[in-house]
């Protein structure tokens, strides 16, 4: 299978207020970079994602983490991975185990896997709009996420 280039995934739920942040970020990134990358969104990480990421050179996953401060943006490599709100141990299969599973069955996985996390304070809140503090910080967060992704896109594998 010829390698495609970049896949950007957002995790979260758009009816869980701030937990839908990564979904919105992916929608906004897609508007701008649709020609540069493929995009997709998921409620949670699962083993099925392994198939969807096959064939890409670079994978960027965006998810939220809980913190008292809203809007901290960080980037991690796979070996630095710590569970986020929606990329964790569902079905007893962690992200690392899923990657190991993919390797075991010889799926062609991305050489470069990065995780971008954004901190939010409110979790489990059922609402289809963001909290006030997240709305105030959204453009900055989008800019910081874009900057991190930009580096990845133009960084050789």
């Amino acid at each position: 299978m010829p390698l495609k280039d970049i896949l950007i995934l957002g995790f979260g739920s758009d009816i869980l207020s701030d937990e839908g942040l990564a979904i919105q970020l992916v929608l906004d990134l897609k508007k701008k970079w649709d020609h540069l990358s493929d995009f997709n969104t998921y409620l949670t990480f699962s083993l099925d994602v392994i198939h969807d990421i096959a064939g890409y050179e670079k994978l960027i996953m965006i998810d939220t983490v809980e913190d008292v401060i809203v809007g901290n943006v960080n980037k991690f490599l796979l070996n630095e991975y710590k569970p986020t709100l929606h990329i964790k141990n569902y079905h007893d299969i962690s992200l690392k185990q899923a990657i190991a599973y993919g390797k075991k069955i010889e799926i062609e996985l991305p050489k470069n896997i990065e995780l971008i996390t954004v901190s939010i304070a409110e979790i489990g809140l059922i609402d289809d709009s963001f909290s006030k503090s997240l709305i105030q910080n959204y453009q900055r967060i989008l800019f910081e996420v874009e900057s991190l992704i930009y580096k990845t896109i133009f960084q050789p594998v």
Partner: protein, 489 residues
Amino acid sequence: MKQITIDPITRLEGHGKIEIFLDDAGGVENVYFQVPELRGFEKFCEGRPVEELPSIVTKICGVCPGCHHMGSGKAVDAVFGVEPPPTAKKLRELFYMAHFVHSHIAHFYALAAPDFVVGPDADPSKRNILGVIDVVGKEVGTEVIKQRRLAQEIQALLGGHQTHVVMNVPGGVRKGLTEEERGDIEKKAEGFIEFAKFSLKIFEDVVLNNEKYLDLILNGPYYMKLHSMGLVDKKNRVNFYDGKVRVVNTLGLEHCLYSPEEYQDYIAEHVEKWSYLKFPYLKKKGWKGFIDGEYSGVYTATPLSRLNAAVGMATPLANKEYIRMYDVLDCKPVHHTLAMHWARLIELLYAAERALELAQDTDITGKELRADVKGIVGEGVGIVEAQRGTLTHHYWTDERGIVTKANIIVGTTNNNAAICMSLKKAAQGFIKEGVEVNEGILNMIEMAFRAYDPCFSCATHNLPGEMPMVLNIRNKDGEIVRRILRTKN
């Protein structure tokens, strides 16, 4: 009295906690299975236009969104007093069969197989799906992913999105199927059948042909006589999408057969202050507590209970396996908790065969996709079988169709009392004076509830779902003498 707490419990959906109270002699006096999460999703439905609910409830959690979509869609049909045309019903059922294939494969290979293929008391670091692949081979691992993906593709095609399904509208479905798409699904369904047969063969080779495992199923502390519930067609055969709910008693005799809108005449819910999860029971039997036997009101709604409540499967290969299971176990109904794994694989075969039947049905590419909605009845109930048990959606609306009240009884909730009792039975069987409570024993206690494939994020309507569990062991004075926590991530 000592106390054991298992937290987190692994390989389930949702957050739970097991408290085991020991007596002075070191035996198990009582076991509490708690779900320390708030149920609240029904409130979120209130105030919404009812036709929005089928697409909202798919976001209760990401584990079985298709079940909620179908149960909700049927309830919405009832609220509008409209019956979908045959093509729409068949498309819904076809979607649903793919959903079952997708889910049942995951349960067997990712959740159940580690206990049997790797071993119930194996090193926990190996007792997972990676360990399973090490034993059965990478080709099987590849097929697991492939077949799940193909099932997912069918769901995405028919449902509009693989997880956030938008298929159902009042009185039908949004889109139909082209001949080319039908042909593609037909080929996929043929593959599902082969994979289901292969999975049953693995179960036979690994479990049934292993004397130790067979003994564990038949003679281990995993046996309770409870009533069995399941949706059946007009011939009383298993049906996941449509029909009436049939309950047979512990002897296999029909206790009741009711239409969805009659469920409140037959089912009531008991509340315990120590759990957010309710305890449904058979109204005519009454709540008699956490006891098994014919006198009890406790029932199960699981793959095994679905088979128990029916007289057979509606497809030939699955029916053959159905007959074989009861022959081998030499009883009907079967009350062996771990036989749920076998029943689930028979259901996998049924779902695959039924998907093929539907894909080959000439009606499936029909153009009549929706019946006209003429008014609002104001109340409606939809029942389907979720992978984890009978799922009921019940909505009340005002004259504009705005939801004023919603009640959802999810599969796992039906089994709440049975899960508590199964855990107690397993704990009593394995924890005895002088026996060191090690990881293997804890896992064999967990196996009692894992068989139910419970989903607590859904049952409690907590968002988002988390999986972990705690096991506490308390002494006679209620003090924790041992706590076992598994890392949840």
